[in-house]
Amino acid sequence: LAKEVAYLSASSANTWLAASVREMEAVANANGINITEFDAQFDPAKQTAQLQDAIASGKYDGIVVCAIYGVGLIPDIESAIAAGIEIVVLNQVVGPDLTTSDPQVDGIAASVLAAPYRSGTRHGNLTVKACEGDDNCEVVFIYGIKGIPLDDAIRQGFDDVISNHSNIKVVAEGEGKYLGPDGGIAATQDILSTGKSFDVMVGADQSMQGAAIVLADEGMTGKVKLIGLGGSAPAIKGIADGSWFAGVFGAPGTEGRLAMESMVDALNGTDRGGIDPLSSIPDEGLMTTDNISKFTAEWDG
């Protein structure tokens, strides 16, 4: 009998998650699993309802969940587990601790994600590298959405690394949002207007794409070291051609594949626990010009 798996997506229109879905489907097909996608359109209440509906329908042997608001889902995830449904967490932490990939609810079969805090430390490590040999290394930090716990955790990881390096100073901040380069364009333009000098910009790939566009417009390509987070096609291309300095790899495809493989294992009785997809990636996913040839983009940006 074919197994039924529900996939609760934060948003079906999201390009990162679309890359994960493709891999999940490949694995599922190979294992005779049928996936049904639920689209919460970034509405947490909708996602809760979908989770409840999926449990109530009694159709599903497993649920892969990409949470919008991870903690809020816990009660229903517990009841799914109680109902004997295997749960695999994808991409976003389900639980209060944003520093770990490990499952935070008893009975979750696997949790496949790069913990936000860890992304922050990786970002920090690349920044340290970019600032090597510079006594006064001025950094601009572009948030996704400043103030939300996710971005706070990333920043925390970043700060914990750079605080050990007195030569590095964050001189300005901006907000790029997570939708395309638009936010990064405006943020970078405004920061340039302040007239502050800076050497390094860090932020999510979407924002760094915007930054790259503005820097190109201003004839400043290469004068500022861009460090992305996401491993999108433009990031890898940019690092290769020198217009970006470095980036933290992001692996939506790998994540999707690992999640579905974990689900297959779970349905066969083996829990895999916490998986950081980047741990199986060359150099822990820290990309620079030296190792960029080892990476291929798993999504377009």
Partner: protein
């Protein structure tokens, strides 16, 4: 009244009931006790706020800020709960904050005469800001086990969230249809100048509607946080979107003066049935959007057509 007149008068309710019957007959898992219980539980927060939103809209105003109140009130309640361990106090505190924020909206709209749409959009930013401030930008969880009982206790197998929603809907309906306040709401929304000349204290009526809505949005937020045993700050406007959609699909006029809470309730369930049906029938999310849009247009067109013929 014959059946045609009835179905004209109750257009949106008839549409909702038809959808219910169709789903019950065709969709496995729909008409099960558990699914219906879930549906009721899922709609509770929307219904709590939507009842009083209906009143605000009938009185001729808008309130965008309920999303922000929905976010900030449980954070405040959890602050109290974490500090005192007293759940009752925390609920009062959270609802009290809703009242204060509602009163703030009321002052901006009635005293400074700022259009309510933009006024409550602006106050939304402020209230969201407060949310970040009082939560210190992090997730909050209750320290007591009682907090989660607010929404999750079961009476006769139905969650307390559902009961709270039921009681709120009934109170709002009675207020709107059976009290002088309710009549004044209709008068104010129908013709503000006429209401004023008839001796109705229009600013007071409007202020009251905002305060009640503030309180109910706060209550909805607390119920939601009790259900998910946590709360976190955000700038998420999705709650007011869902609430407004229910009110307006229900046929309450955004021009004011016209509408009913039963309409809002019917529309909320209409939308819930649609989404539930999509989930149970495993409809491709891509087509869900297109079908949902189309069905809403058809339902609203039918309802407004039946209301027109009904004069």
């Amino acid at each position: 009244m014959n059946i045609i007149e009835l179905s004209r008068k109750y257009g949106i309710a008839v549409i909702t009931i038809s959808l219910f019957l169709i789903l019950a007959l065709t969709t496995e898992g729909f008409f099960t006790e558990r699914n219906i219980r879930n549906l009721l539980d899922q709609q509770s927060t929307i219904l709590i706020a939507a009842s009083f939103m209906t009143i605000v809209i009938i009185s001729g105003n808008f309130d965008i800020s309920i999303s922000a109140i929905f976010v900030v009130a449980p954070l405040f309640a959890l602050n109290i709960e974490n500090a005192t361990g007293n759940v009752l106090l925390s609920v009062f505190g959270g609802v009290g904050l809703g009242i204060i924020l509602g009163a703030f909206n009321a002052i901006v709209v009635t005293y400074f005469k700022v259009n309510s749409f933009i006024a409550t959009l602006a106050t939304s930013f402020m209230f969201f800001g407060f949310g970040y401030l009082i939560s210190d930008r992090s997730l909050m969880r209750p320290v007591t086990d009682t907090y989660q009982q607010i929404a999750r206790t079961k009476f006769f197998d139905i969650t307390s969230a559902t009961w709270i929603a039921l009681i709120t809907v009934i109170i709002a309906s009675i207020l709107l249809t059976r009290t002088r306040f309710g009549r004044n709401v209709f008068a104010t929304g129908g013709n503000q100048e006429a209401a004023r000349l008839a001796g109705i204290n229009v600013p007071m009526v409007q202020a009251t509607t905002f305060i009640l809505l503030g309180a109910s949005a706060a209550l909805a937020g607390i119920v939601n946080s009790s259900r998910s045993i946590s709360a976190q700050p955000s700038d998420d406007f999705s709650f007011v979107f869902s609430v407004l959609t229910a009110v307006i699909v229900g046929g309450t006029s955004i021009m004011g003066g016209k509408g009913a809470i039963w309409r809002t309730v019917a529309a909320a369930f209409f939308l819930a049935f649609m989404n539930n049906g999509f989930n149970l029938l495993q409809v491709d999310p891509l087509w869900q959007r297109i079908i949902l849009g189309l069905v809403i247009v058809i339902a609203v067109a039918l309802d407004s057509w039946s209301q027109r013929k009904n004069v």
